[in-house]
């Protein structure tokens, strides 16, 4: 389990070692063919800032070789904003006194029709954490409902047990995203004072449970703005490194959500500039040629347009972050404000203009879950 590796590292020591990196360390990292965690630390360090141009060029070349001139598109579908957790940075937090909404089967199908109309085949289902109302039984129902409609189904919901993941996987669940938010244990407690989410270790070991359950893909990340992003990203890379060796049949993706404003929310403790986000994205690519790097509509139009050739392999588009946002209940509470509200067609056109093909379908329900008998 990752916990045993995590416990060997001390946050302050890791942080100090990143900030002590020199231009010599960065140059060595740039020259290596296969880069280590230590190289990654150099590439995310302040010392790497003057080398950003070189990093971008390498990142572009590596990404293009591995993923070609393509960009995977997906869209989130928020199913519920019910939540029993208090998270200081989230619009769905229990202490945010707003009207709550959980979609019924009929409403989910209405949202599905709206999403399919835009051309999407890959959907990401999102909820808060309210296990009584929106628990494994609800997810099972939703997967059965949606499997005929989408080529690929991902989920970003509360961490579950291994057996639950196994069951959901058999029903066609392809990918699970579970962000640690921060690997800083004390800070984690501060930002998650109440609810099941306050259990740091259970969350930390979620990727292990997913790996054991044989999930096809899992997504990792931290919420940038809670703590020092360089140190948090080092831990993410450490986690990725461990998981890739342990669960070698699973695909991995990384996201880098920057904290966005929401009604009555937290001001980020740490600001990350665009330049720094580019540095982080390129550093991940130089560290790992195969990992998928995903960018949401949290980022604005100008940034998203320019980041396309720099290492990103999948993007959401036309997102709504509230349950029913596409057609059922556009006014319900959203999780965070999005910054790029262009249509899916506009994003696909932007990609085409840059020489990238928007990939709508890169999976088939036939490839996941339980196998049915083919007639004839």
């Amino acid at each position: 389990m990752f916990k045993s590796i995590f416990d060997q590292y001390d946050w302050e020591e890791v942080k100090a070692s990143i900030y002590a990196k020199t231009s010599r360390d960065v140059e060595q990292a740039l020259h290596h063919q296969r880069r280590t965690l230590d190289d990654f630390a150099a590439l995310i360090s302040p010392a790497a800032a003057p080398y950003l141009g070189q990093m971008a060029a390498i990142s572009h070349a590596l990404t293009r070789q591995r993923f070609g001139n393509t960009m995977q598109l997906y869209i989130p579908m928020y199913l519920s904003n019910e939540c029993q957790n208090i998270c200081t940075y989230c619009g769905f937090s229990l202490d945010n006194k707003i009207r709550r909404k959980t979609l019924s089967s009929t409403e989910i199908l209405m949202e599905t029709a709206a999403i399919k109309e835009m051309g999407f085949e890959h959907v990401l289902l999102v909820t808060g954490e309210a296990s009584q109302l929106v628990g494994v039984d609800y997810f099972k129902k939703v997967l059965q409902l949606l499997r005929p409609h989408f080529a690929n189904i991902s989920m970003e919901v509360q961490p579950l047990d291994e057996a639950d993941y196994r069951e959901l996987s058999a029903l066609g669940l392809h990918t699970v995203l579970v962000y640690q938010e921060t690997y800083h244990q004390d800070d984690y407690k501060k930002h998650h004072p109440k609810g099941r989410k306050s259990n740091f270790d259970y969350r930390l070991e979620t990727p292990d449970r997913l790996g054991k359950a044989g999930i096809h893909k899992m997504g990792l990340g931290v919420l940038i703005g809670l703590e020092d992003w360089r140190t948090d990203s080092f831990y993410t890379a450490l986690h990725l490194n461990y998981l890739e060796k342990q669960y070698w049949q699973t695909k991995y993706s990384i996201s880098f959500p920057r904290l966005r404003p929401f009604s009555g929310g937290l001001t980020p403790k740490v600001e990350m500039s665009n330049r720094e986000l580019v540095q982080l994205i390129c550093a991940y690519r130089l560290f790992n040629q195969e990992v998928e790097l995903s960018l949401s509509t949290r980022e604005d139009e100008v940034f998203r347009d320019h980041i396309v050739p720099l290492g990103i392999t999948s993007m959401s588009a036309a997102s709504k972050t509230n349950p029913g946002g596409y057609t059922v209940d556009p006014q319900s509470l959203e999780q965070f404000e999005i910054s790029d509200d262009r249509s899916a067609a506009a994003i696909a056109a932007m990609l085409k203009q840059q020489g990238y093909e928007a990939v709508w379908k890169d999976w088939d329900p036939a490839f996941s879950g339980e196998i049915k008998k083919v007639a004839g």
């Binding site: 070609g68 001139n69 049949q249 085409k352 088939d364």
Partner: protein, 257 residues
């Protein structure tokens, strides 16, 4: 040049191609036409099998261009057999490129699952083209269960590293009774020519064409290289040596006495 006989089909082009990583379906189509390829592999997961108007399939609809669905994405023999059956129904071909790479990072083919799936698919009447490591014994085992060819890798998929498995490919080609198609790793026309010169029946190229600055021109370059390599093989290479060969003093005693 001799045509290549594969199962019940004859191919004048020995350059097989893939459909991934292109910047648009239009570029893909132009590149494939420039390559002269007659067999192009399509990942089932990328196409909408229920939709005859699928964008990618539309751009592949050319007489003389045969589609070879592949099972990329499956992790086990069971999943592969199921996927192949769906492909047969949807794409109306019993040809299947069997790809089982449970490792999504390096996309290394699983020999155990591949052999098992191949045996089963042959029984179900498929023309099976399995993607495998350059493993001579595995290639013989696949031939024994009835695959139409073997497709050993030159280097990891998409790596463009060339024939890293050269010595093993030589053994495979030397002892195979079915066509040997070098798949994966071919990064430049010279790599393709090298594979053809050593006697490969065909090569499959995707990334090196799709990701080139000018995919159409690169496709034409591969076409020429594959033809040159094949012609050289058929013409019989003269062989080479690092040193001039002097008459050996080791047998000088034969002339004495």
């Amino acid at each position: 040049m001799e045509p290549l006989l594969l199962a019940d089909k004859s191919f004048s082009s020995r350059l097989f191609t893939g459909t991934g990583k292109f910047s648009s379906p239009e570029v893909m189509e132009s590149a494939l036409l420039a390559s002269g390829s007659q067999l192009v592999t399509v990942a089932m997961k990328r196409v909408d099998m229920d939709n005859k108007a699928d964008d990618m399939l539309q751009h592949l609809a050319h007489p003389g261009l045969h589609l070879l669905p592949n099972t990329s994405g499956v992790r086990t023999a069971r999943e592969a057999v199921y996927a192949a059956q769906l492909a047969r129904e949807a794409m109306e071909t019993n040809w299947i490129k069997l790809e089982i790479h449970p490792d999504p990072r390096y996309l290394m083919p699983d020999p155990v699952e591949t052999l098992q799936a191949a045996a089963e698919l042959v029984k179900l009447g498929f023309v099976v083209l399995p993607y495998v490591h350059a493993d001579p014994v595995l290639c013989k085992r696949l031939e024994e269960v009835g695959t139409a060819a073997v497709m050993p890798l030159g280097a990891p998929i998409g790596s463009n590293k060339g024939l890293k498995t050269f010595d093993f490919l030589e053994i495979i080609i030397a002892q195979s009774n079915v066509p040997v198609i070098v798949d994966a790793g071919i990064g430049s026309p010279s790599h393709a020519a090298q594979a053809m010169e050593m006697g490969a029946s065909a090569v499959l190229v995707n990334t090196a064409i799709a990701v080139a600055r000018n995919p159409v021109q690169m496709a034409a370059a591969f076409k020429a290289a594959v033809e040159a390599g094949r012609m050289a093989y058929e013409a019989g290479l003269a062989g080479s040596s690092q040193h001039a060969v002097a008459s050996s003093p080791l047998i000088a005693f034969l002339d004495e006495a």
